[in-house]
Amino acid sequence: MSILEIKDFSVSYLGDDYVVRAVDQVNLHIEEGVSLGIVGESGSGKSTLMLGVLRLLNERTSKTEGEAFFAGNDLIAMTRKELSKVRWAEISVVFQKAMNVFSPVHTIGTFLTDIYRVHRPAAKAKEIRKEQEELLALVNLPKQVLKMYPHELSGGMLQRTSIAMSLMLRPKILVMDEATTALDVITQNQILTEILEIEDKLQLTRILITHDMSVVANFCKKIAVFYAGRLMEVGFTEDVLINPKHPYTRDLIKSYPTFAEDGTGTVVRIPGTMIDLKKPYEGCPYAERCSQATDRCRKERPLESFVNNSWSYYCHNPLEGGRADE
């Protein structure tokens, strides 16, 4: 069952004399309990997509089109009041810079109480306290943290705190927008492993936005690859990363240095740069850099093709042999 259904979703950033199509007609179904990793380079629209769906963008400088259904309700058509009930209670977000989320003049406990005041005004102080301690235990933090100020905690601890905060109201969806990118690998793995463990218990669907494919390979069931605002390929990680259908997916995988046993994994760069999204274009945005591109790619926009009902791609000339296809 899909918990979040994004349909024909587009976001444009409005400049003085130009429009940037940051997200371009994206269709994406996110199933309950199936963690999704959204990958792409900078400027691929991976963050904008979720910001747009949650309506966190400035309405004066951006324009959102399309629909996004959460449990049957269109988030885009909702009034602000209705939306505020969904945000944080049903869908919560953790951003990259946890250190900047907290005001330095309040204790961690204050932040963790604020949410209850807004969303659950009837909750008693004792209950809140119990909940808080439980949540902190969930992310491996001692309860003394409640009395501490943000500057007394390390980056990793603050990131854990903001994850605890996002889980307070037991949301159905947790969006992590490069939430662990700034952390050290060891800390990053600790946090992601902890979330992986509590996911089933809380019936949580995780959406992980990152540029690091190894994180997705290790911690997500499905992967969605974005390029220049468009969805390129989506499917189970084992399928997409081993036998990519879209040439971009393959090229992206190849540009990573690997840890192959013999240590000779070569990195191959993708020629050219991403197209300028300020200018309108036809066909596939990757056509200029793609080794498989034909005239058709430059003229006709690829439609969604399905390998099976969970794996699809947008390409006229999909790869046959996948990763091994040189």
Binding site: G156, D184, V185, V215, T237, P257, G263, G265
Partner: protein, 354 residues
């Protein structure tokens, strides 16, 4: 190519690399000698508390060699880079560049030091002044060091170098402003600028971590090519182990201002001896879901450099630590006598126990 062919060609490549590394070490062409380098900072409000960012770092660097320095944030790897090229003065210890103390070189003539040691910074967008053309940025370095007698000659030199590294059409790049270039292009200009004076060694501090993966490869290749061609030594600082292994001849693993392990890149990555290196490497994932990582768990987070534990600095997080580790300081030791040094008393025992 059959699998066997690939394997044999891979083996050949490894042999070649190993041989090359051996030659570099044997030829005694040392360009940089660092001996028990220390850098302490004082906090503004707590004057009596020392922040020990570097605490006794020693290593040697051969001509044309690339040394990768890896470690988590706060381990002192960036401080090391800054001290090495004289941006900051060391609290104690010695850095010999071409058998001469850089303090002396710096005192005598700062410009002379800059001709010998250069740096590539992490963020290419902050490196350049957006109001100065690329051509002027590059030729000003030449002018400052009295290379090329006229502006015309200098321009030609810059154009040639742009052409040589494949920034084409070179005339076009010469005229452009930094804000008209992408991050990857700017970083290549940054590397070009640092190499323009043909320095003896350069420090590259996270040169690709700000860039998109699709252009990283190009920047790494360029740095590698130029350094090999000019026989320039490179200190490549990064937290990205896979990338470092790709470019470096030798790798040093840093933790709390010390080198915990140093050796040939392949040796350190495939055959780590220190428990910290093992943990660090096991926590690096691969983009191939068939190679799921099996991370070794390490307790807690690195201690603050203001409060360094006694004995082995990793002892409070190490799964194998004994009482002796917590009281006695360890030194770098060459157990295998092959230039693979490790700061752990029990490294060989752990190895045997798996």
């Amino acid at each position: 190519m059959s699998e066997k062919d690939i394997k044999s060609s891979v083996q050949e490549m490894i042999n070649r690399q190993t041989k090359k590394a051996d030659q570099i070490i044997q030829a005694d062409q040392t360009i940089l000698q660092v001996t028990s380098l220390k850098k302490y900072y004082r906090q503004k409000n707590k004057r009596n508390v020392l922040v020990r960012s570097l605490d006794g770092v020693s290593f040697e660097l051969g001509r044309g060699e690339c040394l990768g320095i890896i470690g988590e944030s706060g381990c002192g790897k960036s401080t090391l880079g800054r001290v090495l090229i004289g941006l900051e003065d060391a609290t104690a210890g010695e850095i010999l560049l071409d058998y001469e103390d850089i303090k002396e070189v710096k005192k005598r003539n700062r410009k002379e030091l800059r001709r010998k040691a250069q740096m590539v910074f992490q963020n290419p967008f902050d490196t350049f002044d957006n109001r100065i053309r690329i051509g002027d940025i590059l030729s000003s370095a030449l002018k400052l060091h009295n290379i090329g007698s006229t502006a015309k000659i200098r321009k030609q030199m810059v154009l040639d170098s742009l052409k040589k590294v494949g920034l084409l059409p070179e005339e076009d790049y010469y005229k452009r402003y930094p804000n008209e270039l992408s991050g990857g292009q700017l970083q290549r200009i940054s590397i070009l600028r640092s190499m323009l004076l043909k320095p003896e060694f350069i420090v590259a501090d996270e040169p690709v971590s700000m860039l998109d993966v699709s252009v990283r490869a190009e920047v790494i290749h360029m740095l590698d090519d130029m350094a090999k061609k000019e026989n320039t030594a490179v200190v490549f600082i990064s937290h990205d182990i896979a990338t470092t292994r790709y470019i470096a001849d030798r790798i040093a693993v840093m933790y709390l201002g010390r080198i915990m392990e140093i050796g040939k890149a392949n040796e350190v990555i495939t055959n780590p001896l220190h428990p910290y290196t093992k943990a660090l490497i096991s926590n690096c994932g691969d983009a191939d879901p068939r190679n799921k990582m099996k991370p070794l768990q390490v307790k807690g987070e690195p201690p603050s450099p203001m409060n360094i534990p006694e004995g082995c600095v990793f002892s409070d997080r190490c799964p194998y630590a004994t009482q002796r580790c917590r009281t006695e300081e360890q030194t770098l030791h060459d157990f295998k006598e092959n230039g693979h040094l490790v700061r752990c008393r029990f490294a060989m025992q752990h190895k045997e126990n798996g």
